[in-house]
């Protein structure tokens, strides 16, 4: 069947001026993946420096800048935008049977705002970089001689982009669902993106004002965070984590959404506990706003506050576990097909569970005093962010690649890369739990010989990760030119994106679809 694909129009300008959510999603995708590559190379260099005690390849000042850049790039330019703004932009409207997001021009504007913020951050890097860590804690960030102002302005501006994307998605979900698409016939990815969007809209303005105040602190010396002028540096930490803890769920919820899509398709089963998964996304979004103090157990916060934040943090485990149990129950007695997307989804469940459970260690007050700011924390959040979000992302990329580009990726190479990534990931980060337990502090350039062997293993693991990603990037790009043409529905999916051609036409649906069945009705006799 001949149809005009959304990719047909050629020329740079047709991309730069597009208001098509699919094209904007793709622009976000390539931009963020570019930053992911940069952040990844920085991570490899940081690991290389830590391979042996003493100075290995770079001096301490450069090292400080490198881990700061790795963190800031990965958080603000890769992991926050990549799933919502790239895959969410592409698939959210299609999954609810809409022709576009509610405000297409705002969508394009938010892309350019993102690029502007990212450009500022890049200028800051060229201008000497930042050495405060991605958290920009005061009072050091007020005194650091590096480009804190430019970087914070970059974060401030990228925040606006995130807010506008979230706002666009909320309105799209509420107002643009196709006839018959009730809230509870929306695919779970939509629920996840919706919960994410709520956090984006409610939390991001706070990081906006925080970075703005940090800039003012440096430019005008307003003293909000400076004890010398009557301010309180701990206030900065409260502000920062009021955003940055919920931001953790901006990062992880969309990954959970992808896993909820992939598992029923490749287990050929109706998803177990649809409503529980949908509600747990909202529950996570809600709880995320009242736990930020768990980052501040050793910051002179009152014991009562510590106690409350500790209890509340443990509450997050409930909705999270609900999801994990439901995914596992969906797998039970399914006809599981271990294609690459499914392998990544299973890796997600396995690694994220480790990441989540070690989070409980950190939520426990007395344990946290020992583990705070050690490699245990580094390992924990990499298990969540990389073992969780990135695995979810890779599941989503492989799952939707045929739809987005109309080409199949090579399955064997996909599995090979998965092997390198999965093994490499565990080899890199599992030793870090032990390092942290042994007391190795994070962010240090050097360490005593007692920590040497585990650091060595960790660095070798990072090479396996690097190889895995190199293979993946290569075959994905290769498949764009040489890949087998994809059919409309290569995985036998039931959701709406598989009912339209691969790649989709410009307006997604020639006629507005009318929805009569739920999203995952596999193996249900009708």
């Amino acid at each position: 069947m001949a149809h005009a694909s959304y990719l047909d129009k050629k020329g740079l300008w047709s991309w730069l001026s597009t208001v098509d959510h699919k094209r904007i999603g793709l622009m976000y995708f390539w931009t963020s993946m570019g930053f992911f590559a940069i952040g990844g190379i920085l991570a490899l260099l940081v690991r290389l420096e830590l391979m042996f005690p003493g100075q290995t390849i770079i001096d301490p000042n450069l090292y400080n800048k490198m881990f700061t850049l790795h963190g800031a790039i990965m958080v603000f330019m890769f992991i926050i935008p990549i799933i919502p703004a790239a895959l969410g932009n592409f698939f959210l409207p299609i999954l609810i049977g809409a022709k576009d997001v509610a405000f297409p021009r705002l969508n394009l504007a938010s892309y350019y705002i993102f690029v502007t913020g990212a450009a500022l951050a890049v200028i800051a890097i060229l201008n000497g970089g930042v050495d405060t860590g991605w958290t920009f804690y005061t009072p050091y960030s007020i005194r650091s001689a590096t480009s804190v102002v430019l970087t914070s302005l970059g974060v401030f501006i990228m925040g606006f982009s995130s807010i506008l994307t979230g706002l666009n998605f909320i309105v799209t979900v509420h107002k643009l669902r196709a006839p018959g698409m009730t809230y509870f016939s929306m695919p779970l990815f939509v629920w996840a993106i919706y919960a994410t969007a709520i956090i984006q809209v409610l939390a991001t303005p706070v990081i906006g004002i925080t970075t703005l105040l940090l800039v003012m602190e440096r430019v005008l010396g307003i003293g909000f965070f400076d004890p010398k002028l009557g301010g309180d540096p701990v206030l900065f930490q409260h502000f920062f984590w009021f955003y940055s803890h919920p931001a953790v769920y901006i990062m992880i919820l969309p990954g959970m959404g992808i896993v909820s899509e992939v598992i029923p398709v490749f287990a050929r089963k109706h998803i177990f506990g649809y409503k529980a998964i949908a509600y747990s996304s909202l529950a996570i979004a809600f709880i995320s706003f009242i736990v930020w103090g768990h980052h501040m157990f050793v910051s002179s916060q009152s014991p009562l506050a510590n106690f409350l934040f500790s209890i509340l943090t443990m509450l997050v485990a409930v909705p999270t576990a609900i999801k994990v149990f439901n995914w596992t129950a969906t797998l039970y007695k399914g006809s599981i097909q271990l294609a690459t997307p499914m392998l990544y989804a299973l890796a997600f469940i396995f690694l994220f569970t480790i990441g989540g459970l070690t989070g409980l260690f950190l939520a426990a007050l007395s344990v946290d005093v020992h583990l705070h700011d050690t490699y245990f924390v580094v390992a924990h959040f990499h298990y969540v962010m990389m073992g969780g979000t990135v695995m979810g992302l890779l599941a989503g990329i492989h799952y939707w690649w045929p739809k987005v580009f109309g080409k199949m990726y090579p399955e064997k190479l996909g599995k090979l890369a998965w092997g390198f990534i999965f093994l490499g990931f565990n080899m890199t980060f599992l030793p870090q739990f032990y390092l942290g337990k042994m007391g190795m502090p994070r962010r240090y350039h050097d360490y005593p010989v007692e920590y040497a062997s585990l650091n060595f293993v960790s660095t070798v693991g990072s090479w396996s990760l690097g190889i895995g990603f190199a293979i993946m990037f290569s075959y994905l790009i290769w498949s764009l030119y040489r890949g087998k043409a994809a059919s409309a529905n290569p995985w036998n999916g039931k959701t709406l994106e598989w009912q339209i051609p691969s790649p989709p036409t410009e307006h997604n649906f020639e006629e507005t679809p009318v929805i009569t069945a739920g999203p995952y009705e596999y193996g249900v006799r009708t």
Binding site: I170, L202, I209, L220
Partner: protein, 210 residues
Amino acid sequence: MNTHVVPHHFDSADQAYQASKLGIWLFLVTEVLLFGGLFVAYIMYRAMYPEMFHEASKLLSRPMGAINTIVLICSSFTMAMAVSATQRNDSNRANQYLIVTLFCAAVFLIIKYFEYSHKFHEGLLPGMYFTFEGLNHPKAPLFFSLYFMMTGLHGIHVLCGMGLILWMLIRSNRGEFSSQYFTPMENTGIYWHLVDLIWIYLFPLMYLIG
């Protein structure tokens, strides 16, 4: 005259209207949270240094603050009248109201300009630039940091609002709005009321606590 075409991705004009409405309210929520950070800082530092806040507040000009409050409330009123005139297809009347709204906003900023320059002159500046001698409290600069941050951010919002109102005036003049289509006008009004509302909180918190 109604030349407005519903964008292709909406099924009806009403759906488009509902979407924009939800969009602008969500945007207001983000604005409240943006200012929220400053209000939290205000609450915290006022609780820490109550006497200093009392003393410092006396240095602000109450008459000027009060006049500005009245001016902004008037502008909110004329903005609402402009929206309602548009809904009644009376774009001439709407344009007149928009001009008055713009005028009020300008008066607000001019008064603010005089207040600011007076403060600059006396050395009542934020944080480390504070040089005023007559206030015997080591943390007094903090009050003026808050004052300039909060009223400054608000002032930027007034400027943005003026830009939007001017744009509405131009579009209304071109006859783009009618009782059938007035979404941008109404949304600008909603935004403008928020700007007004924030000032209504700022005025007592800054000027009237002395």
